[in-house]
């Protein structure tokens, strides 16, 4: 018990889905923490000190242990505080959770944001490509309340920090509907379920603020 006490600090950014998902986990497990906002894109001396290799948020500090990378932080939190488990116990289920989390961050974010914003082959093609990826998630969540089953888990936090808030608000700003309800009924149902969860709801960035932010980020990305 004593090991789990002690100070938890989170260096994050209000608009970052990676940072928000860590907050979801901390809130879900009822872990008190001190939150430090990074005024990105400027990087504070503290961030550069805590994460010299990647220079990114989130970074978790637990007592004197420093940990970057949201997936690693989520797993660490889960192993250190055992209430309200985030990852399944079964090795296969755990492997699948890790697989989906990787897929979401690497593939869904890439097509849901990068490919869409650059739209090298045109917007319609980009949307179609995105829908092909989302179709896998639609299948995965079919018949379940959440990706984690009856309660939210690792994949819900990873997907939940990206799809309904970060990406949805980008799409709203671009005036497109990438996952319409008639084509993606299960995903849309999952999004509704998510919003009922307090630890998720508390981590949703302000809508207009985030739309504005996502449009700015996409402009920067287009010019890069």
């Amino acid at each position: 018990m004593t090991e789990n006490e002690g100070k938890v600090k989170l260096l994050g950014c209000w608009a970052s889905p990676f940072s928000r998902r860590v907050e979801m986990a901390l809130k879900r497990k009822g872990i008190p923490y001190e939150y430090l906002e990074e005024a990105l894109p400027n990087k504070s001396p503290l961030l550069l000190e805590l994460n010299p290799i990647h220079k990114k948020v989130p970074v978790l500090v637990h007592n004197d242990k420093i940990l970057p990378e949201s997936h690693l932080i989520l797993e660490y939190i889960d192993q250190t505080w055992s209430n309200n488990p985030i990852l399944p116990q079964d090795p296969y289920e755990k492997a699948m959770a890790r697989f989906w989390a990787k897929f979401i961050d690497e593939q869904i974010l890439t097509v849901g944001f990068r490919s869409l914003v650059k739209a090298e082959k045109g917007r319609e093609v980009a949307i179609e490509e995105a829908r092909e990826k989302f179709a896998f998630l639609e299948k995965e969540v079919t018949g379940k309340d959440f990706f984690g089953g009856k309660t939210i888990g690792f994949v819900d936090m990873v997907a939940g920090s990206i799809i309904p808030f970060c990406l949805a608000r980008l799409w709203e700003g671009m005036r497109i509907d990438v996952i319409p309800e008639d084509e993606f009924p299960e995903l849309n149902r999952w999004i509704k379920n998510l919003k009922d969860i307090e630890s998720v709801r508390e981590c949703i960035p302000h809508r207009e603020k985030q739309i504005e932010h996502m449009m700015k980020v996409s402009e920067r990305y287009k010019l890069a």
């Binding site: 290799i53 690693l72 797993e75 697989f99």
Partner: protein, 226 residues
Amino acid sequence: MNQEEQVQVLGLWGSPFSKRVEMVLKLKGIPYEYIEEDVYVQKSPRLLKLNPIHKKVPVLVHQGKSIAESLVIVEYIEDTWTTSYPMLPHDPYERSMARFWAKYADDKVMSTLWKACWGPESEREKMVEEAYDGLKYLEEELGDKQFFGGETIGLVDIAADFIAYWFGIAQEASGVMIMTAERFPKLQRWSQNFVRNNIIKEVLPPKEKLMALFKAQFGNNASNEA
């Protein structure tokens, strides 16, 4: 559940990703059936069924279930066969740091090394710079340990397999010299320890075959070097 139930690995003879899975199975003494998938020629219906999302090897099949992505597979093996040859430390923080370095070697370092050898000419200088930086961090992390895992091979060593073996051959094939003994003495020592390990060396693909493959696929860039 009977864990001795047949394990199958769908792999590719020359792939460092595929070999990671075989290395871990062999280190843990887990028997398995290996199935070669010549993904460059034709992706078999079996592969497409077992890994419909990425359509890639390696894929592990165990107890009727399939798992893709080499490091996800390695962690699955670790979680399932818990008594032999642990690949990760016990302590949650140490485990996280091992995963951090494994991801770093796999994600960042491997891709920059590859692009430094064979990426577009315009990007190559930048990739060489990044490759040096990446290797420097790994050199520092390794320190005086025999392996990244300490006295035995661990997750990070497995994730860095490309750096230990494939990259040396890639350097020879492309003529781009980045990881030299002078610049990275610790990594050099480590890579020799790794490839000479009795179990690892059984798994590694033959050097001549890899050299021929690299030269055929990417040509020789030596003439382009300034």
